[in-house]
Amino acid sequence: MVIRDLLDLENCHESEKKNLFFFPSAQERFLAVIFDVLFFAPIFSILFFRFIKKLNITQVIAPQSDLMTWYFLTTLFLFLISFIFYQAISLYLKGTTLGKSFFKIKVVGDKNTELTWNQAFLRSAVWSLESLFLGISFLEVIAHDSRKTIHDKLAETQVITLKKPKIFTPILSLEKAFVRMIYICTFFIFSFMTTQYFVSKIQKSEKNILATMKEQNPCENEIKNMSTESLLVEWLFNSQRSQCLEKKVSLDFQLKNPEPMTLIAAYVMKSYEDDKRAEYKDLICKTDKEACEWADQYENFLKTKQLAHLEVPKAHTYFFNFWLAKVSTELKNYKFSNEILKKIELNDAHLNYFLELKLKNSVGLGDQQAVDSTLEVLSKILTEDEYAQVQKWAPISSAELRAPASESK
């Protein structure tokens, strides 16, 4: 006969009291589990220290990576497997674990019998699975009169206390129903989400993840396929792409004798730091006379913000002309920039960039003639949608310029 509270005790015959056992509180059962984990975790860590060392290193160096997730999940899996055996062996041999023994808790069979190995192992295995899903099953302890969780029901076991009985307050049926509902809903939702996540992550092996991390290096394609000059032009075009240029320059500097273009790229990128710029210029002048002359003119431009007649070096003409065209457009010297742009064959993106830059400056100045002339060129090369976007901010004086001249690309 199972006693739930002292009220029943009073109704029992003396002879029945020999077979009585009492339940520990949910709090004591929970604390017992915590103590078991606290005792077992260091032992587990000592046994598997090589693996946990990898986990710790990855946590520092690559914390958000798939490799970290793989190590974490594998550690969790190993811990659960070892904990199953720890619990099973303790329950089989003593009917209790170390944590449970402190709170005088014991696990017995339904008919107050000693546990068999099958019961101990099944109970521990199901317990570990339930713990994987946040251990919500412990809510069952207070939800059911029998105070049995799923692992107790499946293994046909009962958790009892060896202490003197205390008076338990009977739980209302409405509270039990509410707790059961929370448990069932949360258990299924969380189980579904967690299972999906675990399966997808744990399918990758350590080797595959390391190989993937190597491939995922940013800018790998740009560094392989584009020259320093092209990357520098892209940087002038859109400075937010400086990461790839910096990476390329950094790799180029690892060669004993970097190309002059590498020095020029570093010089241009660091143009806002006077001391470093001067040192780069010294290095440029040691390697390339023409580039050194260009750098002198560049220094003059930075000081005066005026373009004197600049000689473009014979090598890397695309970059130098692009830079010249950009600077002269920004200075609103469109005649000069147009002359430069005629010398080099720009791709569509770069051409559009210059035209839109010119258009924006003209709109800002209120130079309607320049606006119209630029729009005329743009209407021939942009698509309908692109031209419509431009019309939103550029004032159009002529009705002819409202429609794009070219067909959609």
């Binding site: 260091p42 290193i57 160096i61 402190f102 500097f253 060669l255 780069y280 290095l283």
Partner: protein
């Protein structure tokens, strides 16, 4: 969270030597703040772009070293975060820092020159810091630091956590063996902990400070001398009523909860990345265990004789 709470915090008159140690640690903490030392060098080297550069230089250095085996799987990761992490590791590697000026790195020569100067400034800064002068590190290999390190702490949380445990255990031990022996136990535990740290982990650029080694000795002493008693543990898992409180459990439980955890952490945490000196805890703990066993044995002998 579960830890031994024993009889709680004592008043000054019940544990004067314990309180004096706490006050000394507090005064030293306040006096040794970095405010007097110019931290510009530290701030500059700790900027993300400088850490990235330091990290990439450190990877070049590691390529030629045996230490590569610890980080070999991570050397191919060339992300900003990874380079910055290697930069932080580099600033702890004294051997690397001392070789920077002479090492033949291949990098942007202008950035390299500026970076080497920053590293030299950082080294000068580290040599002037109080925690480096009085803590155990490769920057100041002086035998006196084996004692002085116990009174230095790295931050308020570090200090508070150590002082709480010092008060809880110091009170009990001072009651057992008296104030003078208690102070001697504290100092010798810390000294032995320091020796273990130097022997097992070696000296690095990051100074080892804190009273944890000495406190581990106190905890171990109490565990050994009162192993059969049940003591009060405080547990706290949530603010909900039934999930915090006190429970009485055997003293010897401290061994798996504290010392086994320290051994596991020491084995599983490489010195290069570790932030806690587990070796000092282990050394101090072993000394405390030995002292506790001797105390218990000699106490029992005295009782038997009388």
């Amino acid at each position: 969270m579960i830890f031994p709470f024993l009889k709680g915090f004592p008043s000054f008159d019940k544990a004067p030597f314990t309180w004096m140690l706490v006050i000394v640690c507090l005064v030293v903490f306040l006096a040794s703040a970095d405010t007097k030392v110019n931290g510009a060098a530290l701030r500059k080297i700790s900027k993300s772009e400088n850490l990235q550069l330091t990290g990439s230089m450190y990877k070049q250095y590691l390529q030629n070293k045996e230490k590569l085996s610890l980080f070999k799987n991570y050397m191919q990761i060339h992300t900003q975060a990874s380079d910055q992490t290697f930069g932080k590791l580099a600033l702890r590697d004294y051997e690397f820092l001392t070789q920077v000026s002479a090492y033949d790195f291949t990098a942007d020569p202008v950035m390299l020159k500026s970076w080497k100067k920053d590293i030299a400034d950082f080294m000068s800064f580290m040599k002037e810091r109080p925690i480096t002068i009085f803590g155990i590190s490769a920057f100041s290999s002086n035998w006196k630091t084996l004692i002085t390190y116990q009174f230095m702490h790295g931050g308020l949380l570090h200090l508070l956590s150590n002082m709480v445990i010092l008060l809880l255990f110091g009170f009990m031990i001072e009651g057992l063996i008296g104030g003078v022996f208690f102070a001697a136990l504290f100092l010798f535990s810390g000294f032995v902990g320091a020796l273990f740290f130097v022997g097992m982990s070696g000296l690095s650029g990051a100074p080892m400070i804190g009273a944890s080694g000495a406190i581990s000795g106190l905890i171990a002493f109490y565990t050994a001398s009162e192993s059969r008693k049940n003591i009060r543990y405080l547990y706290f898992f949530s603010p909900i009523k039934t999930f915090y409180g006190f429970v009485y459990l055997p003293t010897w439980l401290i061994i798996p909860v504290c010392f086994a955890a320290d051994i596991a952490s020491y084995l599983a945490t490489p010195v290069e990345i570790g932030g806690v000196a587990y070796a000092a805890h282990i050394g101090g703990g072993l000394f405390g265990l030995l002292a506790g066993a001797i105390y218990k044995f000699s106490w029992n002998e005295t009782i038997l004789k009388t």
